[in-house]
């Protein structure tokens, strides 16, 4: 159970990588943008990959009537997400310590993982809703109005994950360093549960 506790602590601490590295990255490239424009999504806001990417994306988006990319203070998510991440990380560390001292059963580790997964899915759901709103809630006076083959107005929602073509832009959306650290961390907490379970089984056999 000592080993499991350490793994749990390490896994939970990896969440803190989200305060340094972006969770997600969306890149937009077109022939006339040989250096693609990109935005990095952090837990506390959206920043351009290069210095003026956000300004240049907003400049392009105004043709299709898209809202400006939100500043951190314009979305409640960017004040709540950091607190959730910090809270979950501290909780995980606490559980790890308790596990290390054999005060709790490894099931708590699994519980943490499930809670984190639920919060993560909720976060993704929220993020996707924001993308839908951002890509389809357009200014009716927009300069360019594009339509799908069925006649419905075209939406410009970037993909949640993977690649999509939006007009002349190739849009690629993938997790970034912070996101990968979080996935590794969560996997470690799951491993902590397995390791802890095995060691308690061994102990009970003895």
């Amino acid at each position: 159970m000592k080993k499991a506790g350490i793994i749990m602590i390490v896994g939970s601490l990896l969440l803190l990588g989200l305060f340094k590295f972006p969770l997600w990255n969306i890149m937009l490239g077109a022939p006339q943008y040989p250096d693609p424009l990109g935005m990095n999504i952090y837990v506390d806001g959206i920043r351009g990959v290069s210095e003026f990417d956000i300004q240049n994306l907003d400049g392009l988006n105004h043709y299709i009537g898209m809202k400006k990319i939100p500043k951190p203070e314009e979305m409640w998510e960017f004040s709540v997400f950091p607190k959730v991440v910090l809270g979950m990380s501290l909780l995980g560390v606490l559980l790890g310590i308790l596990g290390f001292m054999k005060k709790i059963s490894p099931k708590y580790f699994l519980g943490w993982f499930v809670l984190m997964a639920v919060l993560g899915i909720l976060g993704m759901y929220d993020f996707n809703n924001w993308l839908i709103d951002y890509g389809s809630n357009l200014d009716p006076k927009a300069i360019i109005k594009a339509y799908n083959p069925d006649g419905s107005p075209m939406a410009y929602k970037p993909p949640l994950l993977g690649h999509k073509q939006l007009l002349n832009f190739h849009v690629t959306s993938l997790p970034h360093t912070g996101g990968y650290l979080m996935f590794v961390g969560m996997t470690l907490t799951l491993i902590a549960y397995w390791v802890g379970k095995k060691s308690t089984q061994m102990q009970s056999k003895r």
Partner: protein, 656 residues
């Protein structure tokens, strides 16, 4: 133990020698007679970049053009000494001061010899300096922005030809006068030229970090014509060499009267000695009047300052400052090889090349082996300083450049050819025709201690029959040769713009990574900048109106302006809010008496407009900037001189 560790090294060294042999063979094969397709060797595929930048002077266009090598594609024309409506250079309020001189606003120039700044004798790709021949000036072009950022006028000078060459750490840029004139200028009979006219050689110091120029001192010389110049390199660092003609000091029909002496001179100037004399206070401060124009990248604005004096050293009175090396038949080119040992003086009326030895020169000076003097300046004995002669190489030798293998390449104007010869043995190795009447030639880095001996290009004065005709006037032509093999090989003809007087070339990798993509809007300190639509405004001050205007794809702000009156002086201060590479906006208003503007991202430029007629007049963007470029327009309402139309401006107001 030692032997064991050395063995693999030895094997490695052998392998390297072998493999480099193979490489040499390969490249030889390529450039030999049975070579592969010539087109292939100058072809730069779409999207690929050239290996070298070439900066070719535009002569009478007053500009500097930027080409790629080996493709010969022209990338840019940089306005230096001439107004340029394409960008508004010399027309915009910010750049008009760049063309200020003691003769007032001079909107044109004759740009001759570009030279790239150097560090430790190697081109460093920071700046290109270029001289103006007609109204003597030296300009500096910054290679981060490819813009002219400084111009300094040269007083006491006329026909600024032996210029603008730089010393090996860019300590000085030199500006030698072609024409001798009365110094100070005064009303006197022209026939009294001899003994009364003087020639000034100017040394402009360059501040190491920012490149700011300052006319440090001038050396007053006898009234000869100073044709070309070259700084010493390596062992001869500290010396500057100037070729002369008209040592006869004739003032009329020079084609005859200046060709009487069998030998003219190369003047060897010890500029380290000049520095000592300056330090020792052996100079005279002369009153002068010359412009120093500096462009500030933060305010996007040039200022012109008139300077009032200059420090002068008199070569006739200061021993050890200048020596004269006799050189046959009106030498034109004056070129120093990369080692700094050989000084080539090409007598343009001779068939031979004369090469002086720096070591022999120093030896002759130390042993005081003089052959008389001219105006107190010692003349050395021709035989004492001669390193060798390239015999009967061609007709009318002009200029010499050097490769990295100890060879010189000399152009022959009259026989239209480039001749390759060996330094030290003075034997002719190869000759190739040029088409036609070649002037200068350039080898990248050929002016420095580290030439790259891959390409050479010759710049010709006559083009006839090389391209489709374009009426009586043809653009001049440059010709690119592969010089990596034993024999030169013509690869490409390409037209140049203006007169390709001389050029400097450099590896693209030394310049391209530092090239700016935008000006940062937050660093814009232009006093009339509007950094967002909310900062736009129109301010009246008597008859003067300042419009603080912004542009972004695809609108002007404001785009409706009212309350302007006939007789007003309207300043459009236009700030481009874009922060994206290669997205300038243009500005033009009907009846403009200046030119349109082309405003780079983050930049502010000002155009003055003086409406003479009542009406509602359009302005628009001249640079196709976006899908809605055509809609990028606005109106300015002009009322009668006494009207009381209120000053009003707006953009995007709902009008229904």
């Amino acid at each position: 133990m030692i032997k064991i560790t050395k063995l693999p090294l030895a094997i490695l060294a052998m392998f390297m020698v072998l493999s480099s042999c193979n490489d040499a063979k390969k490249s030889d094969g390529k450039s030999g007679a049975l070579s592969s397709n010539v087109a292939e060797r100058v072809y730069v595929a779409p999207g690929q970049h050239d290996e070298y930048y070439a900066f070719i002077s535009g002569g009478y266009s007053g500009n500097l053009t930027v080409y790629g090598l080996p493709s010969g594609r022209m990338f840019k024309e940089i306005p230096v000494f001439s107004q340029f409506p394409t960008s508004g250079y010399g027309y915009s309020e910010e750049t008009k001061p760049m063309l200020n001189t003691s003769h007032g606003f001079v909107p044109w120039g004759d740009a001759h010899h570009p030279d790239i700044s150097q560090t430790n004798g190697e081109t460093d790709g920071r700046f290109v300096f270029i001289n103006e021949n007609n109204t003597p000036r030296i300009a500096k072009v910054d290679l981060t922005t490819f813009e002219t950022t400084e111009i300094i006028e040269i007083p006491n000078s006329a026909g600024n030809h032996s210029s603008s060459f730089v010393t090996e750490n860019t300590e000085y840029v030199v500006a030698g006068t072609r024409f001798s004139v009365p110094i100070p200028q005064r009303d006197m009979p022209i026939k009294d030229y001899k003994g009364n006219f003087k020639g000034a050689l100017s040394f402009l110091s360059v501040e190491p970090e920012h490149g700011t120029m300052d006319l440090s001192f001038q050396i007053l010389m006898p009234g000869f014509n100073y044709d070309l110049a070259h700084p010493g390199r390596g062992e001869s660092h500290g010396w500057f060499f100037f070729s002369t003609y008209n040592t006869e000091e004739a003032s009329t029909l020079l084609e005859v009267n200046a060709s009487q002496n069998d030998k003219d001179f190369i003047a060897a100037v010890n500029w380290k000695k000049a520095e000592e004399y300056i330090k020792a206070g052996k100079f005279k401060t002369m009153p002068a009047n010359y412009a120093h124009n500096v462009y500030d990248e933060a305010t996007h604005t040039a200022t012109s300052t008139m300077k009032k004096e200059v420090r002068v050293l008199n070569a006739s009175e200061l021993p050890g400052l200048v020596y004269l090396l006799p050189t046959p038949k009106s030498p034109h080119g004056c070129d120093v090889d990369p080692s700094g040992q050989y000084i080539v003086g090409n007598g343009k009326l001779s068939a031979n090349l004369t090469v002086h030895s720096f070591t022999k020169m120093i030896d002759a000076i130390e042993n005081k082996k003089f052959d008389g003097e001219a105006y107190g300046i010692p003349i050395l004995k021709f035989e004492d300083v001669l390193a060798g002669v390239v015999e009967q190489a061609g007709l009318g030798p002009l200029h010499t450049e050097f490769d990295d293998k100890g060879n010189g390449y000399t152009t022959f104007f009259i026989s239209s050819e480039v001749v390759k010869w060996k330094l030290g043995t003075w034997e002719v190795l190869d000759r190739q025709p040029t088409f036609y009447s070649v002037g200068h030639l350039t080898i990248p880095g050929g002016n420095s201690r580290k030439p790259t001996g891959k390409y050479m290009f010759a710049m010709n004065k006559i083009t006839k029959d090389r391209y489709l005709p374009t009426g009586p006037e043809l653009e001049h032509s440059a010709q690119l040769y592969d010089i990596s093999g034993d024999k030169m090989e013509l690869l490409l003809d390409f037209p140049t713009h203006g007169e390709p007087h001389y050029a400097a070339a450099i590896l693209a990798s030394k310049v391209a990574p530092n090239s700016k993509k935008i000006y940062k809007l937050e660093d814009n300190e232009h006093p009339f900048a509007a950094k967002s639509d909310s900062e736009t405004k129109v301010v009246r001050d008597g008859n003067t109106v300042h419009i603080y205007m912004t542009t972004i794809r695809s609108h002007f702000s404001p785009d409706n302006i009212e309350g302007i009156k006939v007789g007003d002086k309207v300043y459009f201060h236009v700030t481009n809010l874009e922060q994206d590479f290669d997205v300038p906006h243009g500005f033009a208003v009907i009846g403009q008496n200046t030119s349109e503007l082309l405003i780079m991202p983050g930049q502010t430029k000002t155009s003055v407009w003086e409406p003479k007629q009542v009406g509602v007049w359009p302005f628009y963007c001249t640079d196709f900037c976006s899908a809605l470029h055509q809609e990028m327009q606005g109106y300015i309402r002009v009322s009668a001189a006494g009207a009381d139309t209120p000053l009003k401006w707006s953009m995007g107001e709902d009008i229904e």
